[in-house]
Structure formats: structure tokens, C-alpha cells
């Protein structure tokens, strides 16, 4: 046999062996080990483009919970941040508001819920565009509704916004008229004789 033919036959055989070996190997790389499930849930960051709030410094959310904490430590951290939110909501300063708004994107759902309540209590209309933008990017329908409800609540006027359209004398006169009407309803006049 000629050497060229021998080499061709050997190469063809080698190629066949390699092909068989490749077919026997598993398809693709084995899947990597599952990553540990993080306790925290990633939330979309608060939009920073709302024009009415550009002057409010947004502080980073407090690091509250990581997967290195025990459940008790994690709950303690959540309680601590909730307590801070309660206090901030009673203040009127921009720093408190920015701290509250930062917690709207906290990784802990419980803190986000507390932050929504704190935003309502704080009562600044500057929070409305942030709440609406977060709602637009929130995949959780309940949280989306809570954010929109909060935005709507803050947009309404307060009952404590005094309306001086009536004077105390006018109000007293209306009260007297109302009491008179109530008395009449309780003691209706006798029906005329037929």
C-alpha cells in the first residue's frame, strides 16, 4: 500500500475515534452549583430624574439585613429601622424626608412598607413623583397599589388646612339652624286635621 493511502486511512480512523469520544461526552458544561438564595430582594432604584426633588439629598438605605444575620438579628435590624422611620416621619426637615425616601427601596419588604407609611405621615408633596416612579417600576401589584395610594393620599389637602371662608358667627348660626332642624325631625309637627 502506498504511504499516502496509509496516512489517509490512519487520519480517517483517528477522526472517527475523536468523533465517538465527543458524542459520548455530556452536552455542554455541567450547571454551576446553585448560588445561595439571598434573603434580600433586589428592588429597582429610586428614579433620580424627578425635577421637583433634585434638591433633596437621597441618602443610602441603612444596611439592615444580610444573609449573614440570624433570623432574630435580622428582625431586630428591621425593628430598629422601622423605629427610625417612625421618628423621621414626625419631623419636618429635608434630611428626615430623604432618609424615608431612601428606605422606599430598601431590600426588606417590611421596611419598604414602613417607609410608605412614614412618607404618608411626613406629608411632603415632594415625595409624590418618587412614589409614582417607584410604582411604575414595581412588579409587586400590592406594593405598586400601596405606592400609588400613598401618592394620592399626599396629593389631597389636609383637613387641618384652615378654610376661613366662614366666620365663627356664621358657623354658630349654621349650628343653631342644624340643631333646630334636628329638633324638628325628632318632634315633627302634628299632621293637619283632615
Amino acid at each position: 500500500m502506498r504511504p499516502k493511502i496509509v496516512i489517509l486511512i490512519l487520519l480517517a480512523g483517528l477522526a472517527g475515534v475523536i468523533g465517538i469520544l465527543l458524542i459520548k461526552q455530556p452536552q455542554g458544561e455541567p450547571p454551576p452549583a446553585a448560588a445561595p438564595i439571598a434573603i434580600t430582594k433586589a428592588k429597582p432604584a429610586a428614579p433620580q430624574t424627578a425635577p421637583t426633588i433634585t434638591n433633596i439629598p437621597i441618602t443610602a438605605p441603612a444596611p439592615v439585613a444580610t444573609n449573614t444575620l440570624t433570623p432574630e438579628q435580622r428582625q431586630t435590624a428591621i425593628d430598629a429601622e422601622t423605629a427610625r422611620l417612625q421618628q423621621w416621619s414626625m419631623n419636618d426637615d429635608p434630611a428626615s424626608l430623604s432618609s424615608i425616601l431612601a428606605d422606599l427601596t430598601n431590600s426588606e419588604k417590611e421596611i419598604r412598607e414602613a417607609a410608605i407609611e412614614a412618607t404618608e405621615q411626613f406629608g411632603s408633596t415632594n415625595a409624590i413623583p418618587i412614589l409614582k416612579n417607584l410604582a411604575a417600576n414595581d412588579a409587586d401589584p400590592k406594593e405598586k397599589a400601596a405606592l400609588l395610594d400613598a401618592a394620592n393620599f399626599i396629593s389631597l389637602p389636609s383637613i387641618f388646612d384652615v378654610d376661613n371662608s366662614t366666620t365663627p358667627a356664621e358657623r354658630e348660626a349654621r349650628k343653631q339652624a342644624r340643631m333646630q332642624k334636628q329638633a324638628q325631625n325628632q318632634n315633627p309637627p302634628a299632621a293637619p286635621n283632615q
Binding site: 417612625q86 421618628q87 419631623n91 389636609s158
Partner: protein
């Protein structure tokens, strides 16, 4: 509210006192050994703005406390109590400024319809949960009977859920937390400036926690 009944069980084991922990350090919810739970109240009031037009106004607990003349930072809070009638307090920076229920501004009744508990506090972690009907009345001039004698007043009721938990006592220390929520409050209201009786809907919620010290007698 049955919270205090659990506390009374704990008292059978020994006297307890609460101390400042990380959770309540921010706003000092433990005062004189008792845990106070800050309130978030919000209400939406519907009124006739003009012929054919109904509009809405709102109120929050922050505005209520301001209306009553307290300084910024003061919070409404449920305090300790031993009956279903829960007193509402004004607290600020670890100080009880007033019992607003005694003064006639608030009346709160939490009547549990169902309840359940787990654990065996203080040996193990204990939880207590209940659900029932809450009545929440407020009168800015302390006249809870005749709403229109107040500048602002409301009477609302709804269902609520309440949960309390205590960790096991370890080394004489434990943690207590309380949470409650009522999202379906409704009732009637009066605002002198609007000069109308109005329907109101709203919610009230609160949570607080503190570290406790148990002394075995």
C-alpha cells in the same frame, strides 16, 4: 387587647423591666419599664365642596398631634393597659407628655373575637395573635359625645389584627415586640371649618419593640 394578660403571666415568673435596645433606641419607646407603640393614623374625609361636587381631605396622626399643640417629634402611641380600652399617649424622646385618653381626646377599644398563642414564654419563645373589632374616636376639643362641639372629630370602627411576641428569657434578658394593623376603618366625622358631618375612611397601624429584663423572684 390581651397583651397585658401575657405580661401578667410573665409577671408570675418574676418582675420585669424593659431596657433600651437597638430597636427602640431611635425613639425611646420603652418608658418607665413599659413599651409604647407609636401610631400611624390616616383618614380620608369626603365633603360637599360645592353643588354637585364631592371632594376629599386627609388627616394623619402627625397632624393630629400638632393640632393638639405638641412639639414636632411628638408621637401618638398606645401605652400599657390592662383592659380592652387602650389609652393613647403623647410621647416624645422617651418621655410621656400626656395620657390623651384620660384628657378626653381619644377613646380606643380593641375587642378581640379570636386569639391564638404559641410557645411557653418565658421558657421558650412565645407568640400571641388576635383579631377583632377596634373603635377609634378622636375629638380635638375633648368632647367625644357631640362631634360638632369639636373643631375636628371622628368616630371610626373596623377590624384589626394584633401580634405580640416574646423571645425566650436567656440570661435574664428577652425581647418583646408588638404589631397591630387595621386597614378598613370607617365612620363619621365633623370638621368645623368644613361645617359638615362627613364620612371618613382610614387606617391605623403601629409597631414597637424593646428588650426586657426578667428577674426570677
Amino acid at each position: 387587647m390581651k397583651i397585658t394578660k401575657i405580661l401578667m403571666c410573665a409577671m408570675a415568673v418574676g418582675a420585669m423591666a424593659f431596657a433600651t435596645d437597638q430597636a427602640q433606641a431611635a425613639n425611646k419607646l420603652v418608658i418607665d419599664g413599659s413599651l409604647y407603640v407609636p401610631l400611624n393614623i390616616k383618614g380620608t374625609f369626603s365633603y360637599v365642596a360645592s353643588a354637585g361636587k364631592i371632594k376629599q381631605k386627609t388627616a394623619t396622626s402627625k397632624e393630629v398631634i400638632t393640632k393638639l399643640g405638641y412639639a414636632k417629634g411628638t408621637m401618638l402611641a398606645f401605652g400599657p393597659g390592662i383592659t380592652d380600652d387602650v389609652d393613647v399617649y403623647a410621647i416624645n424622646n422617651g418621655v410621656v407628655l400626656a395620657d390623651l385618653s384620660t384628657l378626653g381626646y381619644f377613646y380606643v377599644n380593641m375587642s378581640d373575637t379570636i386569639d391564638t398563642s404559641t410557645g411557653d414564654f418565658p421558657t421558650t419563645k412565645g407568640t400571641y395573635s388576635e383579631a377583632g373589632v377596634i373603635i377609634l374616636d378622636f375629638a380635638s376639643s375633648a368632647d367625644l359625645i357631640f362631634l360638632d362641639d369639636n373643631a375636628i372629630a371622628f368616630n371610626v370602627t373596623g377590624t384589626y389584627t394584633y401580634k405580640e411576641s416574646e423571645s425566650a428569657v436567656v440570661g435574664g434578658l428577652y425581647k418583646q415586640s408588638k404589631k397591630f394593623n387595621s386597614k378598613n376603618l370607617s365612620g363619621s366625622s365633623w370638621i368645623t371649618d368644613v361645617d359638615q358631618f362627613m364620612p371618613v375612611s382610614g387606617s391605623v397601624s403601629g409597631s414597637g419593640s424593646g428588650a426586657g429584663v426578667a428577674f426570677v423572684l
